[in-house]
């Protein structure tokens, strides 16, 4: 990198070095001091700011040998003016579960990327991967080789199982109702082939949240959402409840009145919960974490189908398994069995770019449950149908 780098004037971007929030422009400039790709990115971005339009061409199919996913091809539409970003491909690197790192691991990643790419990263991308932002096609394979030698691998992209992600779970949270990091690691390892080699109608995302607070937004952002919950009694330390009351928590106003199951009573001395009406929303526990805790019979609910608007509109995941224990290898294998059962009809009959949530709405949840061998349960719906247009297929068999 000994050649003289072009110096770009960036009056618009310079405005974004001001202010208290950490500046991405400073980060690009730090890399641009020595890296020609980062330097040309700076020039190109200033151009976008001036013209109010992006300067990236529609992707292209690039990758590492034997993988179909993990690399997003990217080329600028101004390669003559900004030759060092003529290729600017992104690599997605599967993050360690829970996004924990050692200083040593971070330096290893930084060293690899300094040798092969732009010196710019995202910690992390929206799905959870470490993002190496911008390199040339010929650098992909050498980067991949160094990554795998260091124990890292690529994540998903395109129509495959995307890199699963999870909250920090039992590592640093008292509310984790199952071991989110362990299950995420297990599923990621189990589905390596499906993560690296796209073969589905569209993407399929898996996210593991340890409790109904859902810190990884699995209900909104995952096709397959595993959300921790419990089914016995909320654990109460009455002494600590009184302590909270003494320290200014208005329990009737802030807890009792806001309980969606209307199942809490407070007489100024004892907190009573009718757990049979508890909806496991977490509110009372969130407000008084030293006094209340999820019960001891913990597990998860499984919901299916959430996605952003493209194509047929946004969908939230909906319940397909109201409760499952997740405390041994057998229960993990049951999850794999369920995922495989869900994937099968979708791979077979899903349309191009149809997510599982859209597929289920097209064929009907009732029919879908039948296809994957689950019994219909009232927990799966907000309310039964309000129209009388009911199918009775039995007569077809009787005739």
């Amino acid at each position: 990198m000994s050649e003289q780098m072009k110096k770009y004037e960036t009056p618009l971007l310079d405005e974004l070095e001001k202010g208290q929030w950490p500046s991405f422009v400073k980060e690009i400039k730090a890399a641009a001091e020595w890296n020609p790709m980062a330097n040309d990115l700076l020039g190109l971005l200033e151009r976008s700011y001036r013209e109010k339009i992006g300067h990236w061409k529609h992707g292209g199919i690039v990758g590492v040998m034997g993988y179909g996913g993990g690399v997003i091809g990217r080329y600028t539409d101004l390669p003559e003016e900004f030759p060092h970003v003529s290729h600017f491909h992104t690599m997605r690197i599967n993050q360690p579960a829970g996004w924990f790192y050692t200083a040593e691991a971070l330096r290893t990643l930084a060293d690899i990327w300094d040798r092969h790419g732009s010196g710019l990263t995202n910690f992390h991308g929206s799905t959870g991967d470490i993002i190496f932002l911008g390199t040339r096609t010929e650098e992909l394979e050498p980067t991949f080789e160094e990554l795998t030698q260091a124990g890292f691998d690529l994540g998903g992209s395109g129509s495959d199982i995307r890199t699963p992600s999870c909250c920090c779970g039992m590592a640093r949270c008292e509310w984790a109702c199952y071991d989110t990091m362990k299950l995420t690691y297990f599923l990621t390892q189990h589905y390596q082939d499906e993560i690296h080699r796209p073969a589905f109608p569209y993407k399929f995302k898996i996210k593991c949240s340890g409790c109904p607070n859902d810190c990884v937004a699995s209900v909104a952002r995952a096709d397959f959402s595993i959300i921790g919950t419990w089914r016995d009694e909320i654990q109460i330390d009455q002494e600590m409840v009184r302590e909270y009351a003494k320290n200014g928590v208005d329990i009737n106003k802030e807890i009792v009145a806001l309980c969606p199951g209307k199942c809490i009573e407070w007489d100024g001395n004892t907190l009573k919960i009718d757990n049979s009406s508890c909806r496991h929303c977490m509110h009372c526990i969130n407000v008084m974490p030293k006094a209340l805790a999820p019960g001891k019979d913990r597990g998860a609910a499984i919901l299916l189908g959430s996605k952003a608007p493209i194509v047929e509109g946004a969908i939230l995941s909906s319940v397909i398994v109201p409760f499952v224990k997740l405390d041994d290898e057998d229960s993990y294998n049951d999850i794999v069995e369920l995922i495989d059962a869900i994937l099968e009809p979708w791979i077979e009959e899903g349309k191009n770019r149809e997510r599982i949530g859209e597929f289920v709405q097209r064929v009907g949840l009732g029919n879908f449950l039948e296809a994957i061998g689950l019994d219909p349960q009232p927990e799966m719906i907000k309310h039964p149908r309000t129209n009388p247009y009911v199918f009775y297929e039995n007569y077809l068999e009787e005739e």
Partner: protein, 360 residues
């Protein structure tokens, strides 16, 4: 020499997370009892053994140079035995066992431009997408808008004085890599004009049946242009979602004059009190005005501050609006209600008001 040729390794997956957990976490894994937030940006977790873990949370722009990665590594070695993590909202967290190191770490983080906060009833970092830094379909930049908004709202990141937590997010087009559709306030880049079909290019790079099938409103049909196969767009049916552009590069929608930003409010993913909900349209269109998007910044700030002044304790933006009703939301914020706020996609009828539960 043949014996030095390394075997190509594939499909190993990520490193096992246990390699990166500090001893205090390994010892107390699954044994944490409760947590406290003694001050903004600092969380103390206490285990049933009595062990205490001090987390210091700092803002990050998500886009980090390798130099900054190394700086974080250096800080982790100096203050948290070489261990750190990142959150689902791109914050960086240092995991301390020695509380006397909290203050010096915070000072050092602030000195390098990474304010500490984002805990409890605060605005945490904004989940966001790539924008003009890396995306072909973006209708606006991502990092720049986030920077401008957070510079203005920084006080709410560094304190915990809001009625409840509030989650901001930005996606630079309807693909929503940032999945902003369940955020308290979502900033969404939008196109507002139909694609311009490049008839020369289209038959070379696109499969016409795929392009036709990609349209959610059936606005695209096969056609011929100067004897060559192509498609035509029934423009009045197009709502500029850009799904056709995603499957076919010959249908670009990006337009510097008419692309812009919409603002959505009232979504949440947590189950606390109320069920998860989608964000709903508050402002259909604001112009792209780099480098600091003042119209967007002021609109977001106004919504945050009117919510903060009117919401009950623990009430998220969506819960507050459900209580007061949408007419009052528009009245309080001064945002104009227009035809565009009324849904006309699938199941639109479910969003019409079917009672006289009205406030006057």
């Amino acid at each position: 020499m043949a014996d030095t040729v390394k075997k190509r390794i594939t499909d190993i997956g990520p490193p096992h997370y246990e390699k990166f957990l500090p001893p205090i976490i390994k010892e107390n894994y699954g044994r944490w009892k409760y947590h406290e937030i003694p001050r903004p940006g600092v969380i103390v977790h206490t285990s049933d053994t009595g062990a205490k873990l001090y987390t210091v949370r700092a803002a990050s722009p998500r886009l980090l140079s390798t130099a900054k990665i190394r700086k974080f590594a250096e800080l982790a070695e100096k203050y948290s035995d070489g261990y750190l993590r990142f959150t689902s909202r791109h914050n960086v967290e240092f995991l301390l066992t020695d509380p006397s190191k909290i203050d010096p770490l915070i000072q050092e983080l602030e000195a390098i431009g990474h304010p500490v906060g984002g805990t409890g009833n605060a605005i945490s970092s904004m989940v966001h997408t790539q924008g003009w830094i890396h995306c072909h379909s973006s209708a606006t930049d991502a990092s720049g808008v986030v920077k401008a908004v957070m510079d203005e709202l920084i006080d709410y990141f560094k304190t915990m004085k809001l009625p409840a937590k509030i989650r901001l997010a930005l996606a630079c087009c309807l693909n929503m890599c940032g999945a902003v559709h369940c955020s308290d306030i979502a900033i969404l880049g939008i196109h507002t004009r139909p694609p311009k079909v490049n008839h020369e290019l289209l038959p070379k790079v696109c499969e016409i049946p795929n392009v036709v099938a990609s349209c959610p409103t059936a606005a695209i049909r096969p056609s011929t242009f100067q004897g060559k196969p192509s498609v035509e767009v029934e423009e009045e049916k197009c709502m500029y979602c850009a799904n056709c552009y995603t499957v076919c590069p010959a249908m670009p929608l990006n337009n510097p004059e008419t692309d812009g930003i919409s603002i959505w409010v009232g979504g949440k993913v947590s189950n606390a009190r109320t069920e998860p909900m989608f964000s709903k349209l508050a402002v259909p269109y604001l112009p792209n005005n780099p480098p600091r998007w003042p119209e967007v910044v002021q609109t977001v700030k106004k919504i945050v501050e009117i919510w903060a002044a009117n919401a009950h304790k623990h009430e998220r933006v969506g819960e507050w609006i459900e209580r007061i009703g949408w007419p009052k939301f528009f009245k309080l914020t001064g945002i104009e209600f227009t035809k565009q706020h009324i849904d006309d996609f699938k199941h639109a009828g479910l969003t019409y008001k079917t009672s006289v539960h009205l406030t006057y």
